[in-house]
């Protein structure tokens, strides 16, 4: 891969925090010995399509630790691949991170993480951690968000809000994998709660809304109404606005066949459903995270091939 000539510009400084952050910090720092200062991370990324080169370009408009983007890589088809780093290694109690992503008309962007998103155990006095994504995908643009899993440590309290607005002929592949905890350490559903909110809209109309609250003590995850015999869950949203309903019906049938092929009840199950318009969702549940992590990209590849005529390699990582 070839590095793009991205132009990082750090606009947010310690002297110029976002107004909202100021207010929060004022509220959230009790005079407790050993209390860690609340962190307000900020990342604003803008991607644009450069007609002269036929490539997508990254402009890091603003970034503030712990969130950071170092550089963009050019994908085989001229898109921009970006790894979103969290310099503190994970999300700590009281952290508030805001990510604003704008993919300009015709641009193609792929975002991934550098590893699993670890949701650390907060101190008793910490506020719940919050990560908020505001995403806009412009006309004819494509955004792919392919992160590693969320791993909530024992006691974690975390809220994630994702709002995605799609313009005309905008495309989206957005996945999420949620682990039950640090399983190797014997932590399984020992977090306090997770709130996962996601809204995808097209022309102001909602295509998909998730409002999940996972609260192991009050709402046992292993209830049959929730996960039953499974521990890991994954979802993949596939959208491209303006496509005819029959195209989604065909893709649903094709992905459902793959889901049937991969499903092994008791071990891992997959399902596919068309959204009310402009897309579909793939859901998976598994006993083991590796199964889910290996199979989820198969749906992404197939859907990408059908909607965009090509499949690209997954972002390369070294763990």
């Amino acid at each position: 891969m070839q590095a793009l000539g991205s132009e990082p510009r750090e606009e947010a400084t310690e002297e110029e925090p976002a107004a909202e952050s100021d207010e929060r910090e004022g509220q959230e720092q009790p005079d407790t010995p050993g209390y860690r200062q609340a962190v307000a991370g900020w990342l604003r990324l803008g991607f644009g399509y450069e007609r002269a080169t036929g490539r997508s370009r990254l402009l890091v408009q603003e970034q503030r630790p712990p969130l950071q983007v170092v550089r963009a890589f050019s994908t085989d088809e001229g898109g921009a691949l970006v790894h979103v780093h969290n310099l503190s290694g994970g999300v700590l109690g009281g952290d508030r991170c805001e990510l604003a992503i704008e993919v300009g008309p015709g641009a193609r962007a792929m975002l991934t993480s550098t590893g699993a998103t670890r949701l650390y155990r907060p101190r008793a006095a910490d506020c719940p951690a919050l990560q908020r994504w505001q995403v806009q995908v412009g006309a004819g643009a494509l955004l792919e968000h392919l992160p590693d899993a969320l791993i909530p440590f024992a006691g974690a309290r975390y809220r994630q809000e994702v709002t995605i607005a799609l313009a005309e002929d905008a495309g989206l592949f957005w996945w999420e994998i949620v682990a039950p905890g640090r399983v190797a350490r014997g932590e399984c559903f020992t977090y306090e709660w997770l709130e996962l909110l996601l809204t995808i809209t097209s022309a102001g109309c909602p295509l998909a809304i998730e409002r999940f609250r996972l609260e192991p003590t009050a709402r046992p995850p292993l209830s049959l109404a929730r996960l039953g015999p499974y521990r890991y869950c994954a979802s993949l949203y596939v959208c491209r606005t303006g496509q005819p309903p029959q195209r989604w019906a065909d893709l649903e049938a094709e992905l459902a066949a793959l889901a049937q092929e991969l499903s092994r009840p008791g071990c891992c199950v997959w399902g596919v459903s068309r959204l009310p318009a402009d897309g579909l969702v793939v859901r998976g549940l598994a006993q083991e995270g590796l199964t889910l992590g290996h199979q989820l990209p198969e749906f992404w590849r197939l859907a990408r091939l059908r909607l965009y005529g090509s499949a690209v390699p997954l972002p390369r990582k070294i763990y």
Binding site: I209, L224, L227, G271, L285
Partner: protein, 254 residues
């Protein structure tokens, strides 16, 4: 019943509890609208349960715990949208009513990610609005019916049922509890066809789960009062719904 001679009359139920504020006619209307045998097509759908039974996850032994958890997740969502439909009866301006009706239905469609369950909810809502045509005349009901009959007119059952009860002036709390009981009865009826679940056991469960129904009713009203959005996380049931079309033998439609 007349009191026996020489004895004081029997006391009625305590008056400081829930005030129903229902006229006898409203009681009869509610009984009819929330009858589990209302012909809106509910008995044709298992909402994912058939897959869970086919995979030997849902059994008679696990049913009560399942229903309890299901009501606190999916029941809460349906209950909040029933309440929103009920409250829409307070909107008298037709233009505003149409905008809000469309927006609520679009939101509920986006929340129901499993196509099978979403389509079932829409079909039942449409049938309910069609069924009550001519029962009583009301401008907003006519508007909702007209929108439902259009090809793309999405009308979810919870919203349609809530609107009807609101337009009939039936107390919201009572109507909501009755609606949730109807939903539970429909699930039990589906389970009776899928599992070795007899009438006595099914009726006993319906009786025992009433405290849960009332708790969910209270939660839903709380969300409505606070203007908060309800949570729902039922991934296994949702997957059951997504995978239902691929079962080798199906008693219910997908």
């Amino acid at each position: 019943m007349a009191a026996l001679l020489g004895e004081p009359p029997l006391a009625g139920p305590p008056r400081d509890g829930l005030r129903l504020d229902l006229e006898p006619l409203q009681v009869l209307q509610l009984l009819q609208l929330c009858d589990s045998a209302l012909p809106v097509g509910g008995s044709a759908h298992s909402f994912g349960l058939e897959t869970l039974v086919a995979e030997e996850l849902l059994t008679v032994e696990t049913l009560e715990e399942f229903l309890q958890a299901y009501l606190t997740e999916a029941g809460l969502l349906e209950g909040v949208f029933f309440g929103r439909g009920h409250r829409l009866a307070q909107v008298t301006e037709p233009g505003e009513f149409q905008v809000r009706w469309r927006a609520l239905n679009a939101e509920l469609s986006a929340l129901k990610l499993a196509r099978e369950s979403r389509q079932a909810s829409i079909m039942m809502g449409r049938r309910l609005l069609h069924l009550v045509q001519g029962w009583f005349s009301e401008e907003r009901l006519t508007l909702a019916q007209q929108m439902a009959l259009r090809e793309d007119g999405v009308s979810h059952y919870a919203l349609a049922a809530g609107l009807l009860c609101g337009l009939l002036g039936i107390n919201e709390r009572v109507a909501l509890a009755a609606f949730l009981q109807q939903q539970l009865a429909a699930l039990l009826a589906a389970c009776q066809r899928l599992l070795p679940l007899g009438q006595r056991r099914a009726m006993s469960l319906l009786w025992q789960l009433k405290p849960t129904l009332l708790a969910v009713t209270g939660q839903a009203l709380g969300y409505l009062e606070q203007g908060e959005e309800p949570w729902q996380w039922t991934p296994l049931v949702e997957l059951g719904s997504l995978r239902h079309p691929y079962l080798e033998t199906r008693l219910f439609i997908s």
